[in-house]
């Protein structure tokens, strides 16, 4: 069989599968929606109706999403720590290179923006960047979870919840302040307080960016007619790009401000006034 014939057969098989799936999605009646698009989008912003149970607490789905992501990352990190890192080679393979590159990206960001003190900062922005990136991509999987009212919701990106965004924004601000205190004491606190709008701007920037992506995705997936082809572009534009951009923006801003406030204070030497006799 020639190469060309093989290609044609594969193409036909895929076309048939796609056609069957397309017909099936139209013929099979969708589950009755328990909320309108307005309610759905309002809930995506305010999280008023859809609450989930978390060890007896009624929380937003983003809390479950956040802990799920942490669990997945923990398992992955344990496997890597136990089976991969001890087998690291001096000349790295592809996976080792990926891990080293990922660590190096944040480590370099920390050391370039805060040359004086950057070990803890490197670890922090590594965690924050990884969390923002993976938690935003997590939205693409669309894991279903049952609400306390019995309805099913797709777990969103945790940071599209205002509470998660505020927690990360404020934590970043506290980390920046801690760097200032350790390096410059009270002067560091003063330097950090100078940018008092930072926690709000960081929180709401992230919240707004991720929420907009979540809303567009919600809108697209709500209507069956919009669920063909379009999600590919929406997914890339509003999820992957946001994941990368927001991870980069928050980590860069944190390291930049951390470096600024942890910079050692150098006393300015004022030139003495020439009061003596002139020659």
């Amino acid at each position: 069989m020639t190469e060309k014939k093989k290609k044609i057969i594969i193409f036909v098989i895929f076309a048939v599968i796609i056609a069957v799936l397309l017909v099936a999605t139209i013929l099979v009646s969708a589950q009755a929606k328990h909320e309108s698009i307005q309610e759905s989008m309002k809930d995506a912003v305010l999280h008023t109706y859809n609450k989930v149970n978390f060890f007896g607490l009624e929380v937003n789905p983003s809390v479950i999403a956040a802990f799920l992501i942490t669990a997945v990352i923990t398992v992955f990190a344990l496997i890597v720590r136990i089976f991969v890192i001890p087998r690291f080679k001096m000349v790295p393979g592809k996976f080792q290179m990926l891990l080293e590159g990922w660590v190096n990206l944040f480590s370099n960001l920390a050391s370039s923006n805060s040359p004086v003190r950057n070990k803890f900062l490197g670890g922090y922005i590594f965690t924050a960047g990884t969390y923002i990136f993976l938690s935003t991509i997590f939205e693409l999987i669309g894991i279903q979870w049952t609400t306390t009212s019995g309805a099913s919701v797709s777990l969103p990106a945790p940071l599209s919840d205002i509470n998660a965004a505020i927690s990360l924004g404020c934590l970043s601000y506290l980390i920046i302040m801690s760097g200032g205190i350790v390096s410059n004491g009270l002067r560091g606190v003063g330097k950090t307080l100078k940018d008092f709008s930072l926690p709000i701007s960081m929180s709401f920037r992230m919240f707004g960016a991720l929420l907009s992506g979540a809303l567009v995705t919600e809108l697209v997936y709500y209507y069956t007619a919009l669920s063909y082809v379009l999600p590919v572009f929406v997914g890339v534009l509003f999820t992957l790009l946001h994941a990368f951009i927001q991870a980069y923006v928050l980590t860069m801003l944190t390291s930049l401000f951390y470096g600024e406030v942890s910079e050692p204070h150098i006393k300015k030497i004022r030139p003495k006034k020439a009061g003596g006799k002139t020659e």
């Binding site: 956040a66 942490t70 945790p158």
Partner: protein
Amino acid sequence: MPLNIDWQQILLHLLNFAILFCVLFFLLYNPIKKFMKKREDYYKNIDDEANKKLSDAEELKSSYENKLKASDEEIAEKQKAAYDSFSKEIDEQRAEAEKEAESIIESARKKSLKEKEDIISGAQTEIAEIAAAMADKIVKGNTSDTYDEFLTDAEKDEK
């Protein structure tokens, strides 16, 4: 709270992030950083060793060059000393030869002088003998008045 901000959920997110920080920092970030530092040190060590070996080699090269230079100087000195002693010997030999030549010339001169004197004295004797023979011949062959007068005068003087 506006925007449905819930402090309990903020704290839950903070707790989640704290757990994640511990996991990622101690299980991934730190070990990978340590490994990278170890590798950096390893290659730095190799680099340092190579540089040290290079500097040792440079040092060795310069020491050998110095030794070569010193041996060249030594060879030149020895050559000069050998040349000096050789030229001195030649001078001595020349002086000796000159002296010998002078003595040979002197002895030859003396010998020739002696031979000359001998020849002269031999010639004189011969001349005297020839003169005596001639006189004798004259005396024996022709008695002249002159001779008689001479003899008479000589007898007179004796008286």
